[in-house]
């Protein structure tokens, strides 16, 4: 059994902290929330300290932040209906671009691996894909209206230009560009959850996706490419994504976030019962019906709902979480 050790609690935000995001080099952590600020944290000696505060970019709650793969830009999605792009050209973080178009709250923002595409989603039920012409020029490449309800999360595939979205309509959808006419189309709908899908996360191979939901379960989805040896049918030469594992009975309330570590393969979850849980795939797990075991949890490790968990991309076992209780906590998972 592994153990989740408390490293440090970062308390500067006022009110709910919605999201945390590690810089691609793992040296910085950005956090955002109800207080309409973004805070950048970095290590100073042995302690993580607040290095910068980004204010005045948004008029309402900042729901999510995302570093670009190059690490030079930070995008922030807000309930004010806009997405801001921050850069550090002047030496300090400044908001030089604001993306407008959604009818109401923007819930999530994500960069593709190449850094050339950005996606946002909103309560207006749409998913937008933006092309980055140069660092300050963003052009809307697609407005996707495949979901029938509020879209909670957008996440890009780890290396291909495939976009996944999760919604209040209980489904996950996958999108990609149809190269014949440059149109973005929905290439798959993943149905199995019985309530809102709050978050999704690809594993490092990009052939598996983990999702978490208000139905208190985690699901693992496996990609089956056309002509797969298992004989799973595919349509229009597109992959079929099949739910191959459901983890139920571990979470007592809504699961708000899930993070699948690309270094260790560990899965962490953020739950409305104030607890962070860790799961690991079993050693003799079968690809077509994998099994995952619960390895550790820190019961009530926050005083209120845990909203987000993120594994550090460079330091194995380093996990950040944040809560309704205004704090951000850092953990070290030892196997």
């Amino acid at each position: 059994m592994g153990k989740l050790e408390h490293v440090q609690t970062l308390t500067k935000h006022v009110g709910r902290v919605w999201n945390v995001c590690w810089h691609p080099k793992g040296e910085f952590l950005a956090s955002c929330g109800e207080d309409k600020t973004i805070r950048i944290w970095a290590k100073d000696g042995n302690r993580w300290v607040n290095k910068a505060i980004l204010t005045d970019g948004h008029k309402r709650t900042i729901r999510e932040v995302a570093w670009s793969p190059c690490g030079k830009l930070l995008a922030s999605a807000s309930f004010d209906g806009t997405t801001s792009i921050w850069d550090k050209k002047s030496g300090e973080f400044e908001c030089n671009t604001t993306l407008e178009g959604h009818e109401n709250e923007v819930k999530s923002v994500s960069w593709s691996k190449s850094g050339q595409l950005l996606s946002t989603c909103s309560r207006d039920k749409s998913v937008w894909v933006w092309e980055v012409a140069d660092e300050e020029e963003f052009e809307c490449a697609a407005v996707l209206n495949a979901h029938t309800q509020d879209v909670k999360k957008v996440v890009w595939h780890p290396f291909e230009d495939i976009l996944a979205s999760a919604s209040y309509d209980n489904t996950i959808k996958l999108f990609k560009e149809d190269k014949s006419d440059n149109d973005w189309i929905c290439v798959g709908t993943l149905e199995s959850h019985e309530s809102t899908v709050w978050s999704i996360c690809f594993d490092k191979t990009g052939t598996r996706l983990a999702s978490c939901s208000d139905d208190k379960t985690i699901k693992i989805w496996q990609e089956y490419k056309p002509n797969n040896p298992e004989g799973v049918p595919t349509i229009n030469n597109e992959s079929t994504w099949k739910c191959v594992c459901t983890l139920s009975g571990y979470h007592t309330r809504t699961i708000y976030d899930i993070s699948w570590c690309h270094l260790t393969g560990l899965i962490a979850t953020a739950c409305g019962d104030d607890t962070v849980r860790i799961f690991k795939e079993d050693e003799n797990s079968d690809l077509n019906s994998p099994t995952f075991s619960f390895v550790s949890s820190n019961e009530k490790c926050h005083n209120e709902d845990v909203n987000c968990v993120r594994w550090n991309p460079m330091i194995p076992g380093l996990l950040a979480s944040c809560s309704d209780n205004a704090d951000v906590k850092l953990w070290n998972f030892n196997e």
């Binding site: 709910r16 109800e34 309402r60 709650t61 729901r63 309930f79 109401n104 709250e105 819930k107 309560r123 509020d150 909670k152 209040y168 309530s195 809102t196 208000d214 309330r253 809504t254 409305g272 005083n303 209120e304 709902d305 309704d324 209780n325």
Partner: protein, 153 residues
């Protein structure tokens, strides 16, 4: 504005809470009970009638469950008519009142009394979605309406 439910049934209010000797004693920790939660929300005003949610039997003490140790409060409320368009607003007012009055450790669930509203499932789902509730409370017009409902007259 036209009233949806012209002649609602009006019920008597319950009496004041009887204060016991234990409650007077500062050395004893009083846990939250359903009567205490009921007292916080019973005087919320109906959005269209000059009556409280208690008088309309939208709220009843028997439909409130409290588990103080596990920080949970579950409330069922009964809209006056099955097609009441105010159902979400009423539920939201109950949530906001408790959000402001209870310690933040409590997880409050507000749901429609099963079988009493045509859109029961969708109203419940919306009220349980804390992100949508948070966004709604940043809407100044809506917040003004809710504040009117929860201000005791």
């Amino acid at each position: 504005m036209e009233l949806e439910n012209l002649n609602p049934n009006v019920y008597d209010k319950v009496g004041e809470r009887k204060i016991t000797n234990e409650e007077e004693n500062d050395d004893i920790t009083d846990e939250f009970d359903s009567r205490e939660i009921f007292d916080i929300i019973r005087s919320i005003n109906d959005p269209e009638h000059p009556l409280t949610l208690e008088q309309l039997h939208v709220l009843e003490e028997d439909l409130i469950e409290v588990d103080d140790k596990n920080n949970s409060v579950n409330i069922l409320y009964t809209p006056t008519i099955p097609h009441c368009s105010m159902a979400t607003l009423i539920g939201l007012s109950i949530r906001v009142k408790l959000l402001r009055c209870l310690p933040s450790r409590f997880k409050v669930a507000v749901k429609i009394n099963p079988g009493t509203h045509a859109s029961e499932h969708s109203v419940n789902k919306q009220l349980a979605d804390k992100e949508r509730v948070a966004a709604a409370l940043e809407n100044s017009h809506l917040l003004r309406v809710i504040n009117q409902c929860i201000t005791t007259k």
